[in-house]
Structure formats: structure tokens, C-alpha cells
Symmetry: C2
Subunit: 337 residues, 2 copies
């Protein structure tokens, strides 16, 4: 609330009769600012129009000045807290993404294990010739596929899972805590300074009231107060006014300090968030690259099978088998008498 310490009466609406025209003026001065939780804002529509510090950028430094309202509508959580929580949540997100990739890795390893095991199967091992060769290669190709998937799993681990997990080591949380405490301390200081302002404002009001009463008493000669008493009261009033000025000054300095820290730190958090998003994007693209590669390698494992199947030749197989298994090529002849 705007106060003028030249006019003590704006705090004493109970004595309407002794209000001078000058005093009446002051009561009509509008409140143009409000202090909430120690921070002073212009009221809506009051004061010069504010331009965003970073227009069109939706920057953190422009949007988190007020404290966040609780469900009952009371501003309770610092805007900075909201920014901080976002960063902490971001770290949680990267951890969960890493877990997800870990689960994928396990699935790939299981798949590879099963394919490898089946590739060793003796089923139809007795098939011979060109068909047998093709079949043998088909079985082997399962092991080749398994290798591809194992390689995929390993690369997922080193190029996606691990980086996601270890990006921003544990010092990150400590750093965030430091920011948190620093800003919180500045708010506490600000609150404290504001309390001092309120206290000195009240002290001034008391001194002014006292001066007014004494002046009135002098006018109606109600007491034996001397001019000396009034001078003393006036001096105290002036002193109280000086105190208030000093308090307001200190308050504004502190608010200014907090303001600067807010801008600097919220910009840092903004930068960290951009870095986080880009870093995750980069590593998820690595995931898709590995997926592409894997499917391509996997496809190529079928090539040798295709080749051998193309070479399957029943005539050749017959020759091979007949050479190996024939019982005799001399044909029977008629018996003679």
C-alpha cells in the first residue's frame, strides 16, 4: 500500500472530525502495488506496461515470478520451485527411459538365446546333398540372427541405456539443491526485510498518531504539554520516517538481488532443460539407428540361405546319393539252359 509519512491520518479512519483537507486528499490516493509473500507487484492495470524480458521465447525468466497457488487459491510455492521440480522430474524421466531400454535389452537377449539354441537342433540333420546344405545353412542362419540381436542388445546398452542412466551424475541433484537453497535464502531475507518495513511503518504511524494527539491537545489546551513535548514528538516522527525509508530501501535492494538471481538461475535451468531434451533426442535417435541397422544385418543373414536354396538340384542330389548308396549296376539276364 502506498504510504506517505507526511500524512499519518491515513491510518486512523476513526477520527473523521479532525481531518484537514490535506489529509482527505491522501485517503483518495489509489493503491497501485501489492506485496504477496514478501514480493511486491504492480496491481493489474497499474504502473507502466511491462515488456517480457525475452519476448516470444517463453523463457523461464518471464513466467515464474508469482508464487504458485495451492488448491485453496493461496500462493504458497515459489515459482522457482516449479522450475526446479521440472528439472528433477526430467532426471527421473531419463532414468525411466534407461530402464525401458534395459527391458528391451533383456528381451533381445532372450530372443537371441532361443534362436541360438534352436540353431543347434539336430532336426532333419540327415538330409543330404544340395538340399541338406541349404537346410544346414538355414539352421545356421538362426545363430547368425542371434548374433545380430546380441550385438543390438550390447550396443543398446553402451550407446543408449548407459548414457541415459549416467547423464548428469549425482552432482546434478546437489547443484539443483544449491540453487534451491540460494534462492530460498534470498526469499527469506526478502520476507525479513518486508517484516522490518511493516514494523517501521507501524512505528511511524504510532509516532504520527502521537504527534497528532499532542498537537490537538495543545490547540484545545487540554493538557499541560509544552511546545517542547511537541517538538520531541515531531523529531521522533521524523526519525520513524527516516527508519521507514531505510527499511524500504533495504527491502528494494534485497528484492533486486533476488530478482537478479532469479533471472540468472532460471536461465540456467532453461538451458539445462534444452540440453536435456536435445541429449535425449540424440540418444533416442541412436536407438532408431541401431534398430535400422539390426534389421538390415538381419536381412543379410538370409542371403546365404537364399543362395543355397537357389542351388538345390534334385538331379545332383540323386547323383550324390546313388554314388554313395547304389547296390549294383549290372542288370539281370536270362538264365540259360
Amino acid at each position: 500500500m502506498e504510504e506517505s509519512f507526511d500524512d499519518p491520518s491515513c491510518l486512523s479512519p476513526q477520527a473523521p472530525g479532525c481531518v484537514s483537507p490535506a489529509r482527505r486528499q491522501i485517503r483518495e490516493v489509489k493503491e497501485t502495488k501489492t506485496t504477496i509473500n514478501g514480493v511486491t507487484f504492480p496491481l493489474p492495470g497499474e504502473g507502466p506496461e511491462q515488456q517480457l524480458l525475452k519476448p516470444k521465447e517463453w523463457s523461464y525468466c518471464d513466467y515464474f515470478w508469482t508464487d504458485k497457488k495451492d488448491p485453496q487459491g493461496t500462493p504458497s510455492v515459489a515459482g522457482f520451485e516449479v522450475l526446479l521440480q521440472k528439472q528433477l522430474k526430467g532426471k527421473q524421466m531419463q532414468k525411466e527411459m534407461s530402464e525401458f531400454i534395459h527391458e528391451r535389452i533383456k528381451i533381445e537377449e532372450e530372443y537371441a538365446k532361443n534362436l541360438s539354441k534352436l540353431s543347434l537342433s539336430p532336426l532333419a540333420a540327415q538330409e543330404e546333398g544340395t538340399l541338406g546344405d541349404a537346410w544346414t545353412q538355414l539352421k545356421k542362419s538362426l545363430h547368425d540372427e542371434a548374433e545380430v540381436h546380441l550385438k543390438f542388445a550390447n550396443k543398446l546398452h553402451t550407446e543408449v541405456e548407459k548414457p541415459l542412466l549416467t547423464f548428469r551424475c549425482d552432482n546434478f541433484k546437489k547443484d539443483l539443491k544449491k540453487y534451491d537453497h540460494h534462492i530460498a535464502d534470498l526469499r527469506k531475507q526478502l520476507a525479513s526485510r518486508y517484516a522490518s518495513v511493516e514494523k517501521s511503518r507501524k512505528a511511524l504511524a504510532d509516532r504520527q498518531k502521537d504527534l497528532e494527539v499532542k498537537t490537538q491537545q495543545l490547540e484545545v489546551k487540554l493538557s499541560n504539554k509544552t511546545e517542547e513535548d511537541i517538538k520531541k514528538a515531531r523529531r521522533k516522527s521524523t526519525q520513524a520516517g527516516d527508519d521507514l525509508m531505510r527499511c524500504v530501501d533495504l527491502y528494494n535492494q534485497t528484492q533486486c538481488k533476488w530478482f537478479e538471481e532469479m533471472v540468472t538461475t532460471s536461465m540456467e535451468l532453461e538451458r539445462l532443460e534444452v540440453e536435456r531434451v536435445e541429449w535425449i533426442q540424440q540418444h533416442l535417435r541412436q536407438y532408431t539407428t541401431l534398430r535400422h541397422e539390426t534389421d538390415m544385418f538381419n536381412q543379410s543373414m538370409v542371403e546365404p540361405v537364399d543362395q543355397l536354396l537357389q542351388n538345390v538340384d534334385p538331379a545332383k542330389d540323386r547323383e550324390l546319393w546313388v554314388r554313395e548308396n547304389n547296390t549294383g549296376d549290372v542288370r539281370p539276364v536270362d538264365m540259360d539252359i
Copy 2:
């Protein structure tokens, strides 16, 4: 053994003294054929050179005339049996290949199940904005991959496993048994005919011996045998000769019948084998085609993820988040006195 029923003495080497010059000639005639297990073959180097029925084709009908020798060297298993066993083994091979494919199907279904389950994971579901969209699509892509693998499994079942299993239904084995019994019966007949030949050959030898003895006895007037007795003995000898001719004739007819059936049936088995090999080749090529397709479809499941990752925009995400979560854009101002 070549026999001439004009000369009974080739069976009685025990009476050297009464051998006429004519008889001595016959003893020097070579054996040019041999009968093994009822089948008659030319001896090595004897008789006109045989050309293969189907030169350069390694045809079954050229190479399975002799019975297969057992470890002791005794011919015991018909060549035809060897061909039949090959066909039965072929059926076993296709069954085992079918089983192998079945195992692959199970592995694919397990893999699909695991991917699908993981795709539903809530990990990092709280990530928002363009990064959140990319992450959501990444998780969904696992389900898309699962669908691709399930489709692969299903097609493997209908286009490879099932055909391999049901190719040549159970009637096939019955048909093979029919061939088997038919050929075996003809061999039995042949053996029986051969036994008759041997029996009549012996009967002839006995009659000739009898005639010889009686003729000698007449010359030295050792007995009271009349010319009549010799005529009777000579008639019986001639009759035995006729019997032998008939037996040999029947034998040759039967061998000829068996020969023809062998050629026809072994050609059929050869055709069945070519058909089997080509049919398996065709269906294994279907397997590789499905593998190719699967890897291609799988790769394409990553495209939408790539697209969204490309669109990840930290600035946009900041705007979205700030619009949603900002606490106030009015900046603090100095407190007035």
C-alpha cells in the same frame, strides 16, 4: 551254370574212365552267369557289354539290381528296399523340418509377447511435448514390431510349417508299402521258380546218370537189362530235359516281369524324390521370403519414431510447458514509501 542236357556227364566227374571225347569237351565250357538270391547276372567280363538304361542320369533304375550286402558281405537286402527306405526317410525329414519351423514360431510368439507387454510400460509416460510424443511413439513401435513378428509367425505356420507337415498324407506310406509288397512278391515268385529249376536240373542229372549206368551195363553185359530198359531210361531223360526247359522258361518270364516292375517302380520313386526335393525347396524359399519381408516391415515400424524424433523441439516444448505451468508473468517492482 551253363548246362546242355545233351550231355549228362558234366555232372559226373567221378567216372573219368568212361568219358567219351564229346563229354570231355563240355567240361571245359566256362560259367558265364551266376544266380544270387534267385536273380541271374552275367559274371564280370562275360556277356555283351551293358549300357545304362538312362546314361548320365544316375537313375534309380540303373543302380539297384543287386541285393545290398550285409556287414559280413552277404547280399541280403533288396536294392529296391534301399530305394524305399530313402523315400520313408524323406518323409521323416519333412516332418522334422516342420517341427523346426514350429519351434521358430514359438520363439517369435514369445518375442512378440514380450515386446507387446513392454510397449504398455508406463515408464517416462510423464514426458511431455514433442519429446513426450516421440517417446510415446517409440514405446508404441514395440507393439508394432510385435505385430510384425506375430504376422511372421502366423505366415510361417500356414505357408511353411503346415504344408511341410501335411505334404503327402498318410496314404503315401500305404502306397509305398504296396510297392514294397508287390516287388517282394515278385522276388518270392522268382526264388520259387529258381528252386524249381534247380530241382528239375537235379532230376535231369539223375535220369542221365541212370541212362549212363544202364548203357554201360549193357555194353559189358553185366546185367539182364534189355534194350527196352535203356529206351525207357532214355525217354525219362528226355522228359526231364523238357521239364528243365519249361522251368527255365518260366523262370526267365518271371525274372522279366520282376525286371519291368523294378524299372517302373524305381522310376516312380525317383520321380517322388525329385518332387519332394523341389517341394521342400519351394517352401524353404517361402521361409526366406517371409524373413526378408519381416525385416523390411520391422524397419518401417521405426520410421514414425524417426519422424517424431526429428521434430523434437526444446523451444516448442518449453512453450507448451510454460503455457501450462507458469505462475505469473508480472515482474516485481520496487516498493514505494
